[in-house]
Amino acid sequence: MDWWFWPVFLFVFTLLIGIISPVSGVGGGVLYVPLATVLTPFNVDFIRGAGLIMAVVSALSSVPYLLRKGLANIRLFAVIAPIMVITSVLGGIVGLWVSNALPNGKYYVKLLLGIIILLVFLIMITSKRVEFPEVRDEDVDPWSRKLGIVGEWYEPSLDRIVQYKIKNLPVGMIMFGVIGFIAGMFGLGAGWANVPLLNLVMGAPIKVATATSMLIITANAPAIGIYLAKGAVLPVVVVPSILGITIGARIGAKIAEIIRPAFVRWLVIGVLFLAGVLNIIKGLEGLGYIPHII
């Protein structure tokens, strides 16, 4: 197949992901990396590099608006960023070391990626979202209280300003460290983990959790340096992917207003399950644990 087919394929593929993301609430990176690993000839290193850049660019594009609306909480970001910057870089280093230094390393990465994706699948089908979690004054931990991590935004559906508080900050900080490592290692955006953690564990309203998650994803940006410094960023992969997801997300935001989100969400969750299983099978095939079946 001629070389030009693959950038065109990536553009169309990421355009579709971009359209689906705002409709389903599933981040682009988490679909892109496992599917592109299975569907394209690019080595998993190049796919992870592009996946991470896609996740960061999507976040950079939406965060300024969310900050101005009061939805993304910069105080929470300031506490979490010093942890996530370090762990996402460590994750990137470990991911590239595994695929380059170990014999059959890329198959170990595919196997681990499949397992992580199935974990994401489980989180998505089991976690319940709480629109406005109740955080009583006595629930607020001393760190959040001392730092004054509170916020407010205007909620059109209620036609009033909603104020909120945060709880369990120390536990959240540890969990964000782990999430940063996984995000850096596999080139995934971490919205799938950030949102339930902020919403269910730390008591942020769902809109604040989603917006602050986007802000936190920008702290994964230094992990791009790992991929750049190892030559794992190629314009032929990155440019069509970024253009596709950027244009697709704009189309998707308009479609989201007219389509039934629940149906698309379940469709995406099904695709995610399939991608996880395919990566595990490819990893096990490459390592010789099972015969060649796909």
């Binding site: 030009w4 960061v56 101005r68 010093p82 340096g225």
Partner: protein
Amino acid sequence: MEERKISVDPMALAFAKVMTVFTIIGIAVMVAPSIPYFMGYNQYISLQMASKYWNESTVNFWKHVKGITVHGYDWIFTNLEYTDCQSMIGVLLLMITPLLSMIAAIPKADQKAFKLLLLLAAIEFAVSMIVKGIL
């Protein structure tokens, strides 16, 4: 009317302003040189050559395509006459955009703790990028 009464953190406003500007610049700098690159002009890595080895690990890819081992950002900065390396400058700009946004937010912080936390995150961010460039 009520929307106007929301008090937005001054740190957030400074952060948002810088992020908006540098994201636009970063995407433009990444995409513009890629157009001549895809048309075959002035390529550091020819697309025909790349397509033969892009299924290999990064180490093997560079060994086959350029006969080198890539460490750090030198491969970008020493080949800026080529369109694909120019495109990578856009990626670098996008990478440092959160760092610039954090730096812009520091003077607007109302508590010393937030000044220190943002400064710490910015230093970690910068150090990790520099270390990667040296290794």
